[in-house]
């Protein structure tokens, strides 16, 4: 079998970081990119990452085994669809990214409230969702 460092890293990360913490870090990562959008290229990348994040979440939510309760799932899918639409629109117009950041921050707040005293170890240097200088 060929050596696959990415798969190996993913297995290792899965073992060490609980999925919820990975989600918190992912939102933090995307919000940090969105908050640093002063040039067009960075802005495009940030919007692309936001689109990618929500599309990954929506894909999982639409799987039959996803355990999120129906009402909450409905809200998350609506938000995801809105966020992806908004990202695409913002790529081609000057729409502000503030609303995307605000919605993402609310999701992070909800996830963090599940484990108020738990501080996850950073999985990569780019993701630092708990730094005071970063709008999460």
């Amino acid at each position: 079998m060929a050596y696959d460092p990415v798969a190996k890293y993913q297995r290792a990360s899965e073992a060490s970081a609980p999925p919820r913490d990975t989600e918190i870090m992912a939102f933090g990562f995307v919000n940090r990119l969105l908050g640093d959008d002063q040039d067009a290229r960075k802005r495009m990348k940030a919007l692309g990452k936001n689109h990618e994040l929500w599309s990954l979440l929506l894909k999982d939510l639409s799987r039959s085994g996803n355990a999120v309760p129906e009402g909450l799932k409905q809200q998350l899918v609506s938000l995801g669809a809105w966020s992806m639409h908004y990202s695409v629109k913002a790529m081609c117009t000057g729409l502000p990214v503030g609303p995307l950041i605000e919605v993402n921050r609310n999701i992070v707040d909800g996830l963090r409230a599940q484990a108020p005293n738990h501080v996850p170890a950073p999985a990569c240097p780019a993701a630092a969702p708990f730094s005071a200088s970063i709008a999460v």
Binding site: T22, E23, D60, L72, V77, A81, C92, I107
Partner: protein, 249 residues
């Protein structure tokens, strides 16, 4: 400015002799009237500088193209001399046997020169006037050999030269903005594709979602979602939690 073989028109600026810098490289423009004949093809091949590094090819419209070759470099590797070979599409060779066909060919040449950034024009007596693109002409009357058409080349001076130079620049900009327009159309197409993909996805998840949230309702929904999430002990993507790691790549 020279005309050779009845097919090639060569124009070069004062820097081309070897005094070019990377900021102001010496430029030579070789216009080859390409009628698709074997003679035109070999003239086009001959015009390519030996050892030149092809830098960029530009579509000038109407089937004409311009290819730049860097032929000399400074110590930092920036080009100081450039040869631009312009293939001017003048239609089939048979057209060139008539006076009307030759006039059309000259008009094609002028169009290609304008697209390259020259202010070029031909008057009723087939006098060709060229200005702009930092070109200094030693305007000698020139004849296209093997044809009945005579082109007298003259150098414009004063206000006429400025007007021609500006209109040449405007033409070049128009050409570039047409290319930008093409790219922008491509992006719009991609955008509409992505939007329909999101729509299809939303439709796929079923009627349970409100697909068309306004920004304010999205903010409100996210606040409600925050409360709902807080009383759970679940991750959102609990089927394939590791999929999110691809985001950090």
């Amino acid at each position: 400015m020279t005309l050779t073989g009845g097919l090639n028109l060569t124009v070069q600026n004062a820097n081309f002799g070897g005094t070019g810098t990377s900021q102001n490289p010496g430029q030579q423009y070789i216009f080859v009237l390409n009628d698709g004949s074997a003679g035109a093809t070999s003239a086009l091949t001959a015009a390519k500088p030996a050892g030149g590094v092809a830098a960029a090819t530009q579509d000038l419209g109407n089937g004409s193209t311009s290819t730049s070759y860097a032929t000399a470099f400074d110590s930092s590797g920036n080009a100081t001399q450039q040869v631009n070979v312009i293939s001017v599409n003048v239609g089939p060779a048979s057209g060139l046997t008539t006076q009307a066909g030759q006039t059309t060919a000259i008009n094609d040449l002028v169009t290609a020169m304008n697209a390259t950034g020259f202010g070029a024009s031909v008057d009723n007596n087939n006098n060709l006037s060229i200005a702009g693109n930092n070109v200094s002409l030693t305007g000698a009357a020139t004849t296209i050999t093997n044809t009945a058409v005579t082109i007298a080349a003259s150098q414009l001076t004063g206000a006429a030269a400025t007007i021609a130079a500006v209109s040449g620049a405007v033409n070049k900009l128009g050409n570039i903005s047409a290319q930008l327009g093409d790219a922008s159309n491509q992006i719009s197409g991609l955008q509409s594709f992505t939007s329909s993909l999101s729509n299809a996805l939303t439709a796929g998840v079923g009627a349970l979602t409100d697909a068309d949230l306004a920004t304010e309702s999205a903010k409100l929904t996210s606040l409600q979602t925050k409360q709902q999430l807080a009383i759970q002990s679940l991750s959102i993507a609990n089927q394939q939690p590791q999929s999110l790691l691809s985001l950090f790549k």
